[in-house]
Amino acid sequence: MMKYFRTHVLVCVDPECLSKGAHDILDALNDELVATGLIDEVQVLETSRIGACSLGPEMMVYPEGVHYAGMTVDDIPYIVEEHFLKGRVAQKFILPIKQIKDEELTAPTAKEIRVVLRNCGVIDPENIEDYIAQDGYMALAKVMTEMTADDVINEIKKSGLRGRGGAGFPTYLKWTFTKQEKNDTRFVICNADEGDPGAFMNRRVLESDPHSVIEGMIIAAYAIGARQGYIYCRAEYPIAVKTLNIAIQQAKGLGLLGENIMGTDFSFDLEVRMGAGAFVCGEETALMNSIEGKRGEPRPRPPFPSVKGLWEKPSNINNVETYANVPQIILKGAEWFASMGTEKSKGTKTFAMAGDINHTGLIEVPMGITLREIIFDIGNGIRDNKEFKAIQTGGPMGGCLPKEYLDLPVDYESLVQAGSMMGSGGMIVMDEDTCMVDIARFFMEFTQEESCGKCTPCRVGTKRILDILERICAGHGRQGDIEQLEMLCKEIKQDSLCGLGQGAPNPVESTLKHFRNEYEAHILEKRCPAKVCKALIRYQIIENTCTGCTVCARNCPVNAISGERRQPHSIDPDICIRCGICVQVCNFNAIEIV
């Protein structure tokens, strides 16, 4: 006989909630339910994201639909007693949820549209029937029964879909080029090596709606005539890999993957390949080397992957989000898709918002929306009422755009023209307290570290740029540094083999263009206007405000602060290591940075 439970508790086990202790909560809940004898009445289940993981761990109690967040293991006995035993909602864990909005699952704001993310959080990613109930695999059925391969490519062409990995190459063209090649073996590859720091749009789709990607890949395989496909997923996403493998097994079980799909003579198999931690593997030719078990170094193009790709066979490689769009285009029609976006950039795009913005997280917006709408209407503006200073779009190889560009429409061409790029969809918002030279240094450190070393302009050039930037931040900037940086940027862009080298100078070039005065202040006046670069700032105590309470002196790790009790203190700049602890502990705001 089926067990009857009066209450179901859904505990979120999204990686973000796990990082806040969701496993311990699950254990504590089960222990407490056993101890109170409620284990046969209350069922505890694991679920994907519910809403506000940043306040996690979180759980949902049904049938009441009460959403708890922010509890610790020690709170569990209280919640069990109050809610499950006495039937009273434990108010104190409901409150915080109302204060935050998580863009990933609450109703989208007026300016958002859910196409790629439509199923995220709605369906159980480990249950294919959930996906099918949301019209899943209907597009595949339509393709198998009503459309020829050329029909499919034509529909994608009419939709105007372009690559969501960042470069924006028309998807139908890639498919056509691969299909045209005279070869018996062709491959379909999904680039799920989402390495840009702060960008996790693909992770969300893979973990919450894996079948949309799989269905898109099967349709692509049908269109170009491939029998084998690979999803290359980065090793930093173990849960995405696990979810994908489950999804593939389930699709095979229903005859949606494997031999004779849906009873036709079309066969296609799919395999997940995992990386081992190398940013450059997000570059398509490096990715293919990595699948082949080699160093993930890029290959010269041409020949392009559609001519000579994986194991030298024609290969079509698209991003996760590109494939996830395909089933809907087939199902709802190219016109529907093309009705969203701008003339040249159709459909929607997902972005991961991070940095000094009130609402961080994932959004999905129609192409052509302005940066201002994204930052202020959807992101709810800058934190702590500070001034907006810059936004970096396109990941670590994107450019930093100042406030003059706030009304820029977000589409492939406009962003490139402004000196940045679409990239895969990371956006980092920076407020007035950000030093743009330091930011350029930060991104250069990243690309320099991730340069695979194959070609000299990228390997040596990024290091040289980093050396100069480090010198400037350390207060040793010299006349001519700016010109040298500009020259290096130009050369590296021109002479590097792959997108990493070609894009690496972007943060430097764009900050040089838009925030040149900050570079000049660092170099010529030995001053950091944002007061970030430690070598160029000094902490000092405001004599009139200091009460002589000695808190700063007692907390200073290097004993740089001296002064009598109840007398104004002073900081010895030669000993001070600019750690900033004194500012944090001072109760009277008596310490300033000059």
Binding site: S19, P197, A276, G277, G293, F443
Partner: protein, 160 residues
């Protein structure tokens, strides 16, 4: 002597289990290396030699692959590996202070292993957990919204 024999045995067991699982195909090299790295904590040269025999590929090729990827280590790692996310979103929400405290707490710099073999401290690229930064990962456990004050308690969980 016994120690060396034991070490050799565990290395060949790890390699065998990887090859059994993925096959002795050169194309499967990265999954194989990942698997062995996971069991042994790193890739000792004896393991690379054994894999090179079984896959019939040169050791230099294997080493070039093993040294290319961040997640594969050719140096011994500590019993517990602490990974700190050094990406921008974690950096701007207080990552720098967490990193400082972490280094002091285990008395290690980046890429170092403590002399008693308990800890290794490494940095990792973005884990995509940006909503709960700063993030550190110890072995397989991720910790989000980490503050410098929490470091001591988190490390204390790994008391063995």
């Amino acid at each position: 002597m016994t120690n060396k024999n034991e070490k050799d045995r565990s290395i060949s067991e790890a390699v065998d289990s990887a090859i059994n699982h993925f096959g002795d195909n050169r194309e499967e090299l990265i999954p194989i290396l990942n698997h062995v790295n996971r069991i042994l904590g790193y890739l000792p040269s004896e393991a690379l030699e054994e894999i090179s025999k079984q896959l019939k590929s040169s050791r230099s090729q294997l080493f070039s692959v093993a040294s290319f990827y961040h997640m594969l280590s050719t140096k011994p790692r500590g019993k517990h590996v602490i990974q700190f996310c050094e990406s921008a979103p974690c950096h701007v929400v207080g990552g720098r202070e967490v990193w400082q405290t972490l280094k002091e707490a285990v008395n290690l710099e980046e890429d170092e292993t403590s002399p008693d073999g308990k800890w290794s401290l490494i940095t990792t690229s973005c884990l995509g957990l940006c909503g709960v930064g700063p993030v550190i990962v110890i072995d397989d456990d991720a910790y989000g919204n980490v503050t410098p004050e929490q470091i001591k308690d988190i490390l204390a969980k790994y008391s063995d």
